[in-house]
C-alpha cells in the first residue's frame, strides 16, 4: 500500500504545470521613465494599484538611517489636493484598503479597490509621486508614530532585536549594516531639506514601477495612466545604487544578548550571495530541506525526537546585493543552549558533507512547486511579484518561469553551496539569554 502510494505520487509529477494559467501582462515605459505593468483579470471586480520605488534602507546616507521607512509614513500625509489625514480616509470610504512596506531594497505602496475606483487609485498614487506634502508638521507627527512602531514591533517583542544585532555584525561597513527602522537619533537630527532632497531623488518616476492587476480595461487604463502620471517630470538627481561585495565573512563572530525572554535562544546568520543567483536559489532549497514541514530535518530530529527546541528554523533572507541564511533555535524548557547549538550544527554539517537523498530532493522540488503555484493567488500578490521581478531582475516574466531556476539546481549543487556558505567562518552567532 505504502509503496503504491509513493509510486502514484512520483507519477503525478510527470504532469507538468501546464494546468496553471500563465499570467499574462503588458509592460511599457512612459516618457518620464515610469515603468508600467498591467495584468488583466476579470474574475473578481477588484483592482490592485501599486507603486514600487526602488529605494530602501541601503540607499540611505550615513547619519540618515531610517529615512526610507520614514518616507513610507510621510507619504500618507497628503498633497496640495489631499488634506492631511485624508489619504487613508478617501481609500477606505470608497471601499478600498491600502498599505505600504519598506525593505532594505525597495518601498512598496498599494491600494486594493473596487474596480470602478481604478481612476481614484491612479490619482492618489500620482499625487504621491508628483507633489507629496513634505513639511515640518508631517515630519513631526510621523516621527512620533515611527517611534511608537519601533517600540511595538521591535523593542517590546522578545528576540526581535536580533535583526539589528545580526545585520550590524554580518554586514558591518556595508549598506546592509542597519535595518530599515533605522536610528531614532538620525530621524531626530534630520532637517526638512534632507527630506526634500530624498523625495526629489528617489520618488521620481524614473525610479518607480507602477504595477496594476485586476478587473481593468487595458486601453482605458493606459489612457488614465498617461493623464495622471504622464505630466510628472523625470528626476534630475542621480540615483545612488550602492553595491556590496559578496565575499564570505572570513571569520566567525559570536555575541550574547540579554533580553526580556523566558527561554534562551540562538540566532545564526551566514552570508549569502545576492538573490537570483544559482547559489542563492540552492541555499533557499537547503533551508527547505532543513525546516519546511514536520518531516524536515530540524523539526523531526531537534523538535520532535530530541525535544531540544520548541522551534528550530532556517530561512533565507535574500537581498538585492547579498543576504543572510538565518537559522534560529529557541531552547525547550530546561535544555542547555549549547546542546541545542550542537544539535543545529550537526544538522548543518550533514548537509555540507552528504548528498541529500533522491527522495528528499524530490520532496523539496514538490514543496517549492506548491508554493510557487500558491504565490499567485491574489491580485495584490501578482501586482507585487510582477514589480519585484521587473525591478530586481529586469524580467517580469519570472512570475511564470522562476520555478525553472529551482529545477536546474542539482543535489550536488545543494551540497556544494552548503559546504561553501554554511561554514563557521562565514557566520554570526547570537546567543539570547534571559535578563537576570
Amino acid at each position: 500500500m505504502k509503496k503504491y502510494f509513493a509510486a502514484a505520487l512520483l507519477a503525478g509529477l510527470t504532469i507538468s504545470l501546464s494546468a496553471q494559467t500563465k499570467i499574462k501582462f503588458t509592460e511599457y515605459d512612459l516618457e518620464n521613465g515610469l515603468h508600467v505593468i498591467l495584468h488583466e483579470d476579470h474574475a473578481t471586480p477588484i483592482v490592485t494599484v501599486s507603486v514600487l520605488y526602488h529605494v530602501g534602507s541601503k540607499n540611505e546616507k550615513e547619519g540618515r538611517t531610517g529615512f526610507a521607512h520614514f518616507f513610507e509614513h510621510l507619504m500618507f500625509e497628503g498633497s496640495p489636493n489631499i488634506d492631511r489625514g485624508e489619504y487613508m480616509k478617501i481609500v477606505q470610504n470608497n471601499g478600498g484598503q491600502l498599505n505600504a512596506n519598506t525593505s532594505f531594497d525597495r518601498t512598496f505602496y498599494y491600494e486594493l479597490l473596487p474596480s470602478n475606483q481604478l481612476e481614484l487609485g491612479l490619482w492618489l498614487e500620482s499625487e504621491r509621486m508628483l507633489q507629496a506634502t513634505v513639511d515640518n508638521k508631517g515630519v513631526e507627527t510621523q516621527r512620533e508614530v515611527v517611534k511608537e512602531e519601533k517600540r511595538l514591533r521591535i523593542d517590546n517583542q522578545p528576540y526581535m532585536s536580533f535583526q539589528g544585532e545580526m545585520f550590524s555584525k554580518a554586514y558591518a561597513g556595508h549598506p546592509y549594516e542597519h535595518i530599515p527602522i533605522g536610528s531614532m537619533e538620525d530621524l531626530n537630527a534630520a532637517e526638512i531639506a534632507d527630506f526634500k532632497d530624498f523625495y526629489e531623488t528617489f520618488y521620481a518616476p524614473n525610479n518607480a514601477t507602477l504595477s496594476i492587476a485586476g478587473d481593468i480595461d487595458v486601453e482605458q487604463t493606459k489612457e488614465w495612466i498617461e493623464m495622471y502620471f504622464g505630466p510628472i517630470k523625470k528626476g534630475t538627481n542621480e540615483i545612488p545604487r550602492p553595491q556590496t561585495n559578496e565575499e564570505l565573512l572570513g571569520t566567525q563572530i559570536v555575541d550574547t544578548v540579554y533580553d526580556n525572554i523566558q527561554l534562551p535562544g540562538v540566532f545564526i546568520g551566514y552570508r549569502m550571495p545576492k538573490q537570483g543567483t544559482k547559489d542563492a536559489y540552492a541555499l533557499e532549497m537547503v533551508t527547505t530541506v532543513l525546516s519546511r514541514g514536520q518531516s524536515s530535518r530540524f523539526y523531526k530530529k531537534l523538535v520532535d525526537e530530541d525535544q531540544l527546541g520548541i522551534a528550530v528554523q532556517a530561512f533565507p533572507f535574500s537581498l538585492e546585493n547579498g543576504g543572510l541564511f538565518i537559522t534560529l533555535g529557541i531552547a525547550n524548557m530546561g535544555v542547555e543552549l549549547d546542546k541545542l547549538m550542537t544539535g543545529i550544527d550537526e544538522q548543518i554539517e550533514m548537509v555540507r558533507t552528504d548528498l541529500i537523498s533522491e527522495k528528499e530532493y524530490q520532496k523539496v522540488q514538490n514543496q517549492l512547486e506548491s508554493s510557487f503555484v500558491s504565490s499567485n493567488s491574489t491580485m495584490a500578490g501578482i501586482a507585487e511579484s510582477l514589480a519585484n521581478y521587473h525591478v530586481y531582475f529586469g524580467d517580469a516574466n519570472l512570475i511564470n518561469t522562476e520555478i525553472e531556476k529551482y529545477r536546474e539546481v542539482t543535489r550536488e549543487d545543494l551540497k556544494r553551496v552548503a559546504d561553501k556558505y554554511l561554514s563557521k567562518d562565514n557566520r554570526v552567532v547570537l546567543y539570547y539569554l534571559p535578563k537576570k
Binding site: L9, G12, P114, W123, G230, G293, V373, S374
Partner: protein, 690 residues
Amino acid sequence: MKKIFSILLTLMISVSFAQVDRSKQPEPGPSPTPDFGKYKLYELKNGLKLIVVQNDKLPRVTMNLVIDRDPIFEGDKAGYVSLAGEMLRQGTTNLAKADLDEKVDFMGANIGTSSSNVFTSGLSKYSEELMALLADVAMNPAFPDSEFEKLKTQTISGLESNKDNPEAVAGQVFNSVLFGKDHPYGESPSVSTVENVSLDDCKAYYKKYWTPNNAYIAIVGNIKPRAAKKLAKKYFGAWEMGTKTTNSFKAPASHKKMEVAFVHKESAVQSVINLGNTIDLKPGHPDIIKLRLANQILGVGSLGRLFQNIREDKAYTYGAYSQYNSDKLAGSFSASASVRNEVTDSAIVEFLKEFDRIRNEPVTDEELKGAKQFIKGSFGRSLESPQTVASFALNIQRHGLDEDYYKNYLNELDKVTKEDIMAMAKKYILPKNMVLTIVGKASDVSASLEQFGEIKYYDEEGNITEKPSIPLTPGVTAQMVLDNYIKALGGNENIAKLKDLAIDFKVTVPGAPAGFTGIRYKKGNNKYKFVMAMGEMVLQEQIFDGNKGFLNSPQGSTVQEGDEAKDLKNSALFVPEMDYSNPELYTITLNRMSMVEGEKAFVLEVKEKDGDNFSVYFSEKSGFKIKFEQIEDTPQGPVPTIVLYADYKEYMGVKIPGTETLVLGPQKITLTAVNVKVNEGISNAEFIIK
C-alpha cells in the same frame, strides 16, 4: 476649413488630456456586481455533506472537514476537547506520525487538525491522495500514548507562558466574568484541569462527536464537483453513522450593573481594557447587517470613532476597537484597547462616552455612507478567495440561512438608515450591563477605577482573589511612621509654635454650581470652628469652644457635651496624630501597605479607647498623611468615609495640605485652601456658641 476645425478639435482633446484637474477626486465608474460563485451540495448515505466550489484558476485544492456540534462544557477537565483535536494530527492506525508527515511534505501539501476540523491543501493533481489522507486522519486516529504525554506537557507550558501575556489573560478573564465560569463560553483550561485529562477523555470525545452525520467537507479549487463527490464516496463511504448529541445551556445571566474585574500584573506598563455585554443575536437575524454598520462606525479600523478619539485625538493607545459576535447560544458585544497605566480611567471614560453618543445621537450621513462603502469593499475583496464562497455555503447550511442570504446582503446594507443605527446601538450596546476587565498594575491604576463600580480582583485564570497587597517595608514600626510624619510637617518644635490657624477654602462639588466656600479656624489646640456656606447662606457650622461642641445646619442645631463632643474636640488639635502614640488614648498597629493615588503608603490602623476604628495612610516617600478611611456599618452594608490629603505647603515652618477631598461613594467634595493664615490672631468671639 473642415480639416482645420478637426485638427483644432484633436488639439483640444489632447490638451484636455494633459490637463487633468487634479484638485478633484475622480468619480467612480458604475458599481460592479460581485459574482458569488457557485457551489454544489451533496449528501452521502451516511449523512456526510459535501460542499464543492470549483475554481480552476490555480491547480490547487483545499479540503476542510468540519464537525458541526453544540458547545461543550468541560468542567474540571477543561482542555480535553482541544487536546483531542491535536491528537488527531499524531498519526492514524495506518500511518505513524512520522510517515504521515513524510507523505504530506512529499506532496508539498499541508494538513492540520483541531477539535472540530481537519484541513488539508495541496496541488490538485494530488486530489485523491489528499482525500485519502483526510479520511484516514478523520476516521482512524491512533491516539498514541507517547504523543499524548508530550502534548499535555506542551499544553501546560503553553498555559504557563500565557499567564505572561496580558492580552491572553484579559480575554480569558473577560469571558469568564461575562458568561460565568459555569458556561461553555466562560470556562477555560488551566494547569490543574489539563492535568486531569486522560487519553480516554480524548477518545471518548472523538467517538461521540466525530461521526459523518455531524460533518461537512468543503472542497474548493481545481476539481470537478462530481469528481470530488466520487472521491468522498470512495474514502468516506465506509464511515459509520453515529447518534447526534445535542447539548443545551441556559442563556448566561445578564449583569444588572457594571461589573469591574481587575487582574493585577506587577510588571504591567499598559492596562489591557475589555468591556462589553452579552447579546441575544443568532446567526441570520435581520439585525446583524444593521449592527455590523453600527459597529463599523463605532469601532472598526482606523476610521472608527474609538480609534479616532482614543488614539488619534487623545493618544492614549496604539489602537481601540469594538466588535460583536452573533451566536446560537450566547452572543456578545465588546470593545478593547491597551493603554498607558496613567490614562486607564480616562480611556474608559472615553469608551463610555462613545457608547453613549452612538446610542443617543444619529450618526452623520458621511459616516453612514463611508461605512457602507467600506463593508461593500471588503465584501467584494473577500470574494477573490474561493474559500469565501465555500464558507458562505457552509454558514447557509449550518445556520439554516436563506439560500440568497449573502446575495441579498449588499441590498440590505444599502437600506440601513441612521435611525436603524441608533436603534441597534440602544439594543445591543448596554453600558449599564457591561463587564469591564482590566489587566494591569493595581497600584498604579485601581484606585481611579472605583468610579465605575466595586472592583473585584481576579487571578490569571479568572478566580476571585484578594486585593493585591504590597509587602510591608521591613523594619518599619508604627511609631517610626508617626515620627516621620511629624518630621515631614516641620517637627515638634515648629508645631509647638502654632497659636492659631485660619484657612479659607474653595469647595467644589462635581455637578453642583460653583460658589461654595468654607472656613476652618483652630486656636490654642483646643478651639475649633468650621463653616461651609453658599454665598450668605450657611449650610453647615461646627464649633468646639474648649468644653462644648455645637453642630448647626438647615436641618437644626445640637449642642454636644462631654464624651459626645470628642470628635469635635479632636478636630481642635493642630496635629491630632500626635496623640496616637499615647497608649491610654489609642492602640495603633502597622501591618500592611497600600497604594493611594499611585503613591505607596503605610496603613496605620488606629483604635480609639472605647471608640471608633479607622485607618490613616502615610506616604512612604514624603511621610505625609495622604488618606483617612473609616468604615461604618450601616443597614445598607459597610460604607466608607474617605478623605484624601494632597498638595502640602509650608506656612511658618509647618506644612498644611492644600486640598482635602472627601469621598462618599461616587460623590467627591474637594476643599482647596485659598488663603492660609498662621498666628495672625483669631478672636475668641469666633468660638462662642450662641
